[in-house]
Symmetry: C2
Subunit: 381 residues, 2 copies
């Protein structure tokens, strides 16, 4: 019998059993070997790698070898713009920016306004398109290099993708798509087609540069089904297989599950007023005990604590300080109120700076759009 | 039990029972009422209408009323460019040109190079794309007005269609598409999506002109499944339902079936050297008797004769002469050799003139391409 895992592009939980995911999806755990090589090429260590926030991969070793050998390489990630961006979304982007900066790589970033429109009953296309631009500002605020960052907004930039997409589509039967994404008879035909557009971007750099380009995709494990198909068809279409590096999902501030727009009170949005964000954090569900007395006596559980995960995954660079926080919680000497207040303060400052930059660059988004920089690809075959 | 009819976009025969088709597809037979009104608006009579080569319709009456009331109207037809054009393809185009000339209408013409690539194992995309341009020359040679004729080549002009297509796609489930087009689990996902692109063109004029535009589609009955879906979704997307007028399919020169590229020896291509075309006609299967003696005695059967159909549908404008030919065959006074020689001579002259024009305009195709005239549609909603 096939093993079912409730992680896929349209259903993902946090605090999942990542080991089991690896087994089912057939990706490889990230080892010191790949991390060491990547950090050597990057010229510095990275907390998300050391802590295995990025924890598994496919062919990262191949990608790094190609990079080292001077072959053309690029990065690819994206976002389904159905609402405002929260910290769970930007987690892989922070790492992607590090890769761009340290390795000098160009990034193709797909805004799937078509997918979100097709998937969500309540959304119309102008709305998901508006969010594509809205969310793009978060890339700008994170400081991606406009000369090296190329945003594709599906509904408008389809001309870059379609010729590649139909060649992918010819290789994929409906039954493969159904088995991979759980489609049913009542799935609309736009969603049935959509995956080939997400796959097409894996091959776009090769067409745009007119030379074989190796692509690394930093993204949540929930996106893995797309890349499995992409890798299956790549060689028959004469493209390098895309490599992946998978991150764990940032938990929400509630008692379980990933940070998600379906529970806005447990998600910190990049557009939240800093005070509102701080309040959300002060109300977060933690791994602490019900009373201060019990907490002092028994200690807390940082491994199941959304606040500690925020430190670990995004807001504490320093390993020693993170470890201190961990053990101070475990031994009961650090109380949840104090720990939350400190995080709230860091998030408050982060958002203030982030939003300043976001506002400042609002009218300079053009520099990031693929259509302002590339002509349509000259298909090589 | 559902009644199965072997006519659909990917399986069409000629000499079919057109009455039965009407019943199954639910289109209306064309009556003197619509023909009279159309000819009155056009200011002249038309042999294809009189002879019911165009024989059925949906909402042609509505379309003509809108036209008469001064509402914006347009024409839409197309071609799947998997090879060279034959006379069976251009039959509806000849009528479409008459509509354009007499009613002053703009025509949107879709070249579905994506569909043909997705459908035919042997074809690659550059090849079907090349045929899209190759076949476009046949429109030029027929004399369509370049200011009023807008060719859409799917793989290159997808930007005009995609935003409309996803809005159509959201309304159509996989099971509807499967039931309409006979898809199976092994159908590739490109073909599953493709119909919404053919449907999208029905609504493109409304977006391009920024006002409600009534669209009439002259095309073979085999394309009807697309328009049934288009009509089902039109109103919920706030577009006028497209009207259709259906033509019968030109028979091939062999003993049965429509003129088809799968039997090239029974098809007259616009690119055939005139001598070759004449030879094909001289070898045509006719409704004549096995020997001259029997023919003189029993007479022929023009109703089952591919040569007579060529006269009736394309090469004899004059009703009196056509009727003479019919009865001279029936009574045995006209022999097949003579009848074929006369047709061969007409086709020879037609092709010589056509090919001259085709050659002359080869470098002026740009004037017909939608992308050389329109920006992308500003979606109204």
């Amino acid at each position: 019998m096939e093993e079912r895992v409730e992680v896929g592009p349209w259903a993902a939980e946090a605090f999942v059993d990542y080991e089991r995911l690896l087994k089912v999806f057939g990706a490889k755990p990230l080892t010191d070997l790949e991390v060491g090589k990547l950090e050597r090429l990057a010229g510095e260590s990275n907390a998300m790698l050391r802590r295995r926030v990025f924890y598994s991969h496919r062919d990262l070793d191949v990608y790094l070898n190609m990079y080292e050998a001077g072959r053309r390489c690029a990065l690819y990630t994206g976002r389904g713009p159905s609402g405002y961006t929260h910290l769970g979304h930007i987690l892989p982007w922070v790492f992607t920016k590090w890769l761009q900066d340290r390795l000098g790589l160009e990034l193709f970033f797909q805004m799937t306004d078509d997918e979100k429109f097709l998937h969500e009953e309540r959304l119309d296309l102008p709305e998901s398109n508006r969010f594509a631009y809205e969310n793009s500002l978060d890339l700008v605020a994170l400081g991606f290099d406009p000369r090296k960052t190329h945003i594709i907004i599906d509904s408008e930039d389809i001309g870059y993708l379609y010729s590649i997409a139909v060649r992918v589509a010819k290789k994929i039967t409906y039954s493969t798509q159904r088995a991979t994404f759980g489609f049913t008879d009542s799935t609309n035909v736009g969603l049935v087609f959509y995956p080939v557009l997400q796959i097409a971007v894996c091959f776009l750099p090769t067409e745009l540069y007119g030379e074989e380009t190796y692509v690394l995709i930093p993204a949540g494990i929930d996106q893995d089904p797309y890349w499995r198909i992409a890798r299956d068809v790549a060689q028959s279409l004469n493209y390098p297989k895309p490599s992946q590096i998978h991150n764990k999902l940032l938990p929400g501030l509630g008692p379980g599950g990933k940070m998600s727009s379906s529970k806005p009170e447990t998600a910190v949005y990049t557009t939240d007023p800093p005070d509102v964000a701080a309040q959300k954090i002060m109300k977060a569900f933690t791994g602490g005990q019900p009373t201060v007395e019990l907490h002092r006596k028994l200690g807390g559980n940082p491994d199941r604590c959304s606040v500690f995960k925020m430190y670990e995954m995004l807001f504490e660079e320093d390993d020693v300080k993170l470890s201190e926080r961990y053990w101070n919680c475990r031994t009961g000497s650090l109380l949840c109120g104090e720990c939350k207040a400190e995080l709230a303060s860091r998030v408050w400052k982060f958002l203030r700076d982030f939003q300043e930059k976001r506002e400042r660059e609002k009218d300079r988004l053009d520099r990031y759009l693929i259509r302002s920089k590339f002509g349509e690809p000259k298909m090589r075959r």
